[in-house]
Subunit: 389 residues, 4 copies
């Protein structure tokens, strides 16, 4: 069994820098591993923390050249632009409120941008950033990383091929329990900013994980949510943002949906699941067992499709690194975002069309994500009135 799909075919690594991702952070380390897995990127610069001391210590810890460890992202943009061997792209892994200014700065300076989600903290910012990005001619990739899972790519291709027929019902969930108590009082940096509207934006659970569920539902079905009716709650005392959100969805074209995002569902770790039902078949997938996809053609027994297994299609095998039964996980899915981003960046730099089959979340998805968050908040404030996205 040969390692299939993603391998290390490449001319030269893309030099990139990172903003955020210092000590105590979570997603920065994930981005760095993801960037290394397929060996298409090389981290050469960083503004890893807004606290200079911490930035320096963090850089040392990961072996970054001290000369290219910057005290601020603005400084990094300027300095790297001036270098012959400067970065070509930046990865933005800060709390949400910094996504916009950092992305704007680096796009303006002519760098490609890989940005964590949600893209910004407001829809207005998202639209502004989209305009900047389009005008820049640079690549902008949003790391809705779950779209990188091979069986999610397979599901999307199956829906597109009509294997499910007309989509009728979509059920998306993202259930966690790590904020079931007052985690923000324990000194957790992760919890701290996520429950703070100044840093996270208007959405708590909906911004942090609901957007992933929303994005995944749209990515797989190819449908857009037209209207939603949401009920947001903050169950933990003193919490200002939602920690539980339930909603009804109506998709363009007539499909109906439900979405549940919760950070207080005791017994759930990262329970992101997607179920899609059409008039010819159904698909079910769960992030905690990402190598499996359940497919039931109408009137036939349920089938277990596995990554690189007998029922795998090109959309999944092309982003798969291991034979069936050797599980790939979260980091490999994330790595696929980076590998695809490398293809986009090289194509953009060389002025050619990117290869076919890429399926990266775009700046449009970023806008949709913020529209989703704002619609949730608006609907909930109006006692669940249907709000258009």
């Amino acid at each position: 069994m040969a390692i299939e799909g993603r391998d290390e075919t490449h001319a030269r690594r893309i030099r990139y820098g990172m903003v955020g991702g210092g000590q105590g952070a979570f997603i920065g380390g994930v981005h760095r591993i993801a960037a290394r897995i397929d060996d298409r990127f090389e981290l050469v610069a960083g503004a890893l923390s807004s606290t200079p001391e911490k930035a320096k210590a963090s850089a040392a810890e990961i072996g970054l050249d001290p000369a290219r460890s910057y005290g601020s992202y603005e400084e990094m943009a300027t300095a790297e632009k001036a270098r012959e061997d400067g970065i070509e792209a930046v990865a933005i892994v800060t709390p949400n409120h910094m996504h916009f200014p950092v992305a704007k700065t680096f796009l303006d300076a002519g760098f490609h941008v890989i940005c964590d989600k949600p893209m910004t903290t407001t829809l207005a910012e998202a639209r502004e950033l989209a305009a900047i990005a389009r005008a820049s001619g640079k690549v902008f990739v949003l790391t809705h990383n779950y779209t990188g899972y091979p069986m999610i790519r397979q599901a999307r291709a199956m829906v597109a091929a009509g294997d499910l027929g007309d989509i009728r019902v979509v059920v998306a969930e993202y259930a966690q329990d790590w904020l079931a108590g007052r985690t923000e009082d324990t000194g957790s940096k992760q919890a701290g900013w996520r429950v703070d509207p100044e840093k996270a934006g208007a959405g708590g659970a909906i911004g942090d994980i609901g957007t992933h569920a929303h994005n995944l539902a749209c990515f797989v079905t190819g449908l857009k949510v037209e209207r939603l009716s949401a009920d947001l709650s903050s169950f933990v005392e003193g919490r200002r943002l939602d920690d539980n959100a339930s909603m009804l969805l109506r998709f363009a074209g007539g499909a109906k949906g439900m979405l549940w995002a919760s950070q207080v569902a005791v017994g759930n770790e990262n329970g992101l699941t997607l179920r899609v039902y059409g008039d010819r078949g159904g698909l079910e997938w769960c992030q905690e067992e990402p190598n499996k996809l359940w497919f039931t053609p109408l009137g036939e027994p349920k089938r277990l499709l596995t990554r690189n297994g007998a029922g795998a299609n090109a959309a999944s095998t092309s982003v798969s690194r291991l034979p069936a039964g050797h599980p790939e996980g979260y980091l490999e899915g994330f790595a696929t975002i980076y590998a695809d981003a490398a293809e986009l960046i090289r194509a953009a730099d060389e002025g050619r069309a990117p290869p076919e089959g890429l399926a990266l979340p775009t700046i449009e998805d970023g806008i949709d994500g913020l529209a989703f968050i704002e619609a949730c908040v608006a609907s909930s404030k109006q006692d669940g009135a249907w709000v258009a996205l």
Copy 2:
């Protein structure tokens, strides 16, 4: 390992008759097996079909005395009342629209009633029937049979004991796929009446299976749904009743919920699941694996509680017949409803309080069920406005 809980300790079987349940029916046969399992009932009379020929043939098939196979339920009520060895109770297993007249007739005639759900086709009828039942002094049992599953009894007792703390979120689902196509055109008697508002009432999926999910959520949590916002769809062309329903729930006391009932979710057979989350723990249960209950105390690993296993409590062991690991199923859960009904009936006949620990769905649950159905229909007609139950 001794057979525990339910056994055959009894003085004398209760004589009962059945209305409905002739050839081609489904639930009648289930009631008969359920009544036999614990040997507390004896079927001695029947009006098994509204078609006399079919009633006769059906009676012969199950070995019923031809003299006590009646052409109509009215005839049966009258004739059995006149016999010294007449029935003591009646089981009503007709399509929904007949529940009310049949139940009324037999209550009026002084019989105990075991009635399938939903109790009636309208809330007004349900209330009327409740008044009749209360006035009669007779036992009225509604076969929300899923409440008979041992691990559901266990879950209810655990919630009542505070193992989950204050309930925050309830997610209930009942997903099927047998009506994903035009099953009603295939000659299926089962499908035929269920999609016909004259026979099923105002609810399609919500009446047939949504009420089960609603009932189960309330049974386990001890909470009442105060308001709901529903979105009903009829996906299959030409269908007059809903075949997919999604809704948001608000429980008295502040818990939030979601409920999904679908008969077009391809790949689901009888996917009735219940998830309950409180501030101290979470519970998860699925009807298709009814001997298992997942319990996560906050901050501890998830535990698999099994029927009669190490973590079983008295509420489940007392309604369990087999050692752990030998699966009990749907019929045994249904049998528990009958066994409990026998206790109620004997107690009523003897003018004493029933034994403790019974947990039967009552006529109040029947009212709640119809209130639920009507609220769903009303909310959906008002584009999802919150409707009080």
Copy 3:
């Protein structure tokens, strides 16, 4: 969805008596429920315990006519033979060592016999009993009840139809943990006789549960074990019979197998599983989720076949009572043994061939079971030498 397969089509119930199954017993209650489920039998007599007082109390508890509650099985055979309305069949549910004398007595007296497994405590007895049974012209049914599970019937039919091609490998397990400690010291009647060679015979775990795994493997594959190499252990201090047995199997025709029976495998309740692999496909089944059968045709995705679901064949649907997704369990599988036994008995009484499609364990299976047990003991004593069955 109509209740399919087994229903109550019958002329008249078969009158039967029971030997064993008094208070504190396990399997007697199971037989009684199983006999009631499809309504083909009526319990009218019993010698429920070898202790007269207990026999009487047990009979009263289950509502047996005191006049037909006997103090000994010999008395019952004689008295019932003399009655015009005497029993037609007997169910033997005693500890193993009584199977032979009781079965012999009732066969000699002209009754049909339904006997729990293992058939006797020695192979010599088994052969003797087989000769008696054959000579008697009476029906002898061995309750290897797991063969009554619909998906086991389906698996057998699939193998017979060649869906798996030539069988290569069979892996059978039956893992429990209820004897992991000194359960026999806790007053458990169940444990007490099972660890006593005088009552259980030469096999502990192999006799109690290993025979089930062996029988199931043969039942499904249609193959016979030709030779085996076994390693028996008694892990719990002071235990005289094996509580863990592992063995290698060689089937006639060249298939290889493994079998593991354990009563000390902490975390296993009734983990009876069977996996069968041929050159064209594989099947996997687990008793704790009996409504599911996993089938993988070579080179295709794994399929989940469910009882009465899309992929169900006639062998399973004909012994199924409920629609797919409403679980049937252990008692229903056991009931199928009784329902099939009723067909055999009626056919024998009427001197006609039984209907096609019955698949009951026979007296030959009983001989095979004892041959298996004795081969295990012999092989283990010879340090795992291959022993022919």
Copy 4:
């Protein structure tokens, strides 16, 4: 949630070269990714294929400096030794028969060695290599990669801590189906050498995957297999090595075991499972869901322990990169072998003891693996006689 355990704290990457792993190979690509994930290694040289053209093309494909892409491993050893910036370690990822000569060459030349399993093709070679390695003072790491899974580390620590009490029974399996047909005739390079005794050694399935199951059983329990009785089969026509192996095990200290390795079990991808039962508890783990570990303390409900979840211990969290519920997979487990190897290498180079908590497979495990393979072959040839390891 911070990324825990493994991160990128390091001074300088270890320069390494690779022998084998050219185009069409599988495990070479895995090693390269594994080495990159934690950023402790840098690939700077290679003899990627014994075919010079292929070596060159393979090197180009992965961006290796052409000057350091060698035509033979001997050339690489000599040339790299002469360079100031030469490699410090070599990764050997060739078919089995080359492990010995390559490892010997590089150890002799003073390099650390990371070698795929099985260590050699004969026990004699394994012992010789062990002597060479010990004399060299260099680090020798055997990539029994499954030992790098966090929950396997946790299981090992739990057994060592006595959570299971005295171990009684161990059941290990590794079931695949990719060789169920004549895969070797399809041009698969992977299949080709694995079924060829000249390249694979005396073991087919036992050498390729049985050794993994054996190693894992010993790694987790801390026990050694003392004797085994094996039955090897070659089911596919014309195959010279075993493609199915079943065996009984006896561990030093009295525990019993079973081991099954199959490459013809249709429906199994990489079904490596381990079950361990002691007198105080049981553990169950499956490679295809590696983030889960099932633990049952005697007399308590089964618990689901998850990587970085509530029940995780230091042995697992210290080798974990992601929060609970974000699955890590095969590559991360493999990466842990590399990360631990980096620690060992640095410690060896600096003449200090390695940090505590490393749990790498050693050259002793390599000897045990070959002893296992040879014992299997010997036992099977003697019709399953018990053979000492």
